[in-house]
């Protein structure tokens, strides 16, 4: 992922069936690339927030925002302003740890990355790590030598800082 070109679009949508399909289908049909998409409830129960990461130039992003805004189930959409938002991703990583030495190396590394061990078995550990995608990439790089068995990443979720918010008044 080229950090400089990655743009994040925050979309508030009606929390009902078919909306995720409508939004993701629009991206496919208009030839916009989605890097990641996350969906979950917002402050209001009837409204969901989608966070969409897109790697496109500024002109395309403007077009993306306008096209998404046209969808009837979309209540609000905007690009998060560069430098004025916080983004996080969660990863669950199952790594091999056949020997006590490896196990302690991994635990040390997890501490450095402020992750947590959330499951242990005879020859593997499961790590939970939260942060920017770069941080997760860096941790995964450290685990290469030991061997990653399974990986699940949530994709980016993000919010504007302070007053820079995309929200709907109650």
């Amino acid at each position: 992922m080229e950090a400089g070109k990655t743009k994040i679009i925050s979309v508030l949508v009606e929390n009902k069936p078919g909306v995720l399909y409508g939004v993701s289908n629009l991206f496919r049909r208009r030839n916009f690339n989605i890097e990641s998409i996350t969906v979950g409830p917002s402050v209001r129960k009837d409204v969901a927030r989608m966070t969409i990461t897109v790697n496109e130039d500024e002109k395309t992003i403007i077009q993306v925002v306008k096209q998404v805004a046209k969808l009837v189930d979309v209540l609000k959409v905007d690009e998060l302003e560069s430098g004025h938002f916080v983004m996080r991703e969660l990863a669950l990583i199952k790594v091999q740890s056949p020997t006590p030495k490896e196990r302690s190396d991994i635990i040390n590394c997890v501490d450095v990355f402020r992750g947590r061990i959330i499951d242990v078995s005879i020859d593997s550990l499961m790590v939970e790590i939260t942060g920017t995608p770069d941080k997760i990439d860096a941790f995964l790089n450290m685990m290469k030598a030991t061997g990653v068995i399974e990986l699940a990443r949530t994709g980016i979720t993000a919010l504007g800082r302070g007053a820079k918010s995309i929200r709907i008044d109650e």
């Binding site: 077009q63 306008k66 009837v72």
Partner: protein, 568 residues
Amino acid sequence: MTKISGSKALLESLERQNVTTIFGILGGAILPVYDALCGNDKIRHILARHEQCAAHEAEGYARASGRVGVCLATSGPGATNLVTGIANAYMDSSPIVALTGQVPSSGVNTSYMIGRDAFQEADIIGITTPITKYNFQPRTVAEIPTIVNTAFYIASTGRPGPVLIDLPKNVQSDMGEVTVTDKIEASGYKSMVEIDLTKISEAASLLAEAESPLILSGGGVIISNASDEVMQMSDLLMAPVSTTFMGKGSFPEVHPLSVGSIGMHGNPAANRLLCEADVLLAVGTRFSDRATANLDTFASNAKKIHVDIDEAEIGKNIEVDVPIVGDAKAVLKMLLAALNDKLHKSEGNAWAKRVKEAKEQLSPLLKDRPRDIVPKALLIELRRLLPENAIVTTEVGQNQMWSALYFQALKPRSFISSGGLGTMGFGFPASIGAKVACPNRPVLDIAGDGSFIMSEQELACSVTEKIPVTVIVLNNSVLGMVAQWQRMLYKGRYMAVHLGKTPDFVKLAEAYGAQGLRVTSMEEFQKAVKEALNSTVTTVIDVPIGSEQDVVPFVPPGCGLPQQRGDY
């Protein structure tokens, strides 16, 4: 409160939307709605002979009248057959509401339900999501009135377009308590935006200082009913008016300042003057590739003002200097008011002279009444034969581009053609829909033999339902436009364009109980058109023309408008 069936609730809601006509074909999963239609004297059901044509008929109705057209089909293949018609309405921003049956969403026989691949089940919601403004699938009877209200509201406001309501069979037949309501539920839908006054003032300044302004009037002008304002603007600025293909009819093509349509098969005067203009006022157009040709040379000397109700169209295809988001009529009124204070132009300016000269040089009208039975002459003669209020539809291909070039449209909503999707077989069903909307006006479809064959079965509909229209088949026994491309761009290597044994269109018409006439001279053509206009039954006029005629002028793909080839 008394309980009524979902089908009854549907029809009552449609009546509240002033629906008087539905074009449709029935089937198993929509039977409860047809049962409710039985005995209903407020809504006329017109039995199409193919669902695609039902959708085109609804669109023809909508585009001729400005009201929402309604089509109805069963689940599965009925619904999927509507798809081309819905996509056509989406591309051309036509307000239609499509109603489809669906297998039950719940009930006793769980093997015959949504998601179980039941008989005649198709995911029409999924299929039509990218080609509708919105679609609905009610799960209870009580939802139906609000859904119908919302569907009509969304279809007809803002930039119009198709909306689909998919009705599970159990919802059609279930009894439920229904409240009569005008309620609309679409919280994320914005049909109107506030017009930016600073942009109006910027645009007015550009136009006031322009020496060679040109107005490009698109389909949005027709939808927004803004033809009068375009006329006033043209008068005020002494600006020539070109239309896009979809805008044909928004400005009378007999007006001295009309320069015809721009585009790949545009009028040479329009394409040339567009290159010379210093300010372009484009209203209600999306700058389609067929209108602009290569973007690098599109109006390259002009500052561009773009007025459109759909914000996403601004900057999508071309970069503009002054974008104005808003309804064409409202924006033009504001621009006129702003300009009236600034502007007093004399009639004899150099640009007006140049427009006259360009028209005389590049798009000369035939001086004598044409004799030869060639498309150009036929279409010029057809205009003379028709009353001003006639509605003309076209099919797609050479017949359509000849019509664009040589048939002069005089009024909005009088020239109806498949612009965006380019659907062969559109014109004939659209003419039926238009005739239903405007029964007292003559309606004609200018067709090619290839296109007409794609929907000729609607002759049965037009004859049975007593909807008399006229089909003029420019018959060259070839898929003419693609043959032309193979001739011009593929070294004449013809592949799959010759139609071989096309039907005898006179006998074909007669087989359906319509009138068939064949003409081989201009005198016979004149006589046939007059006969068709007086006929109470649909008339097919077969006009054999040569099979190797090109539509010129022509801008080859990839080239810009200045590289137009061939004489008008």
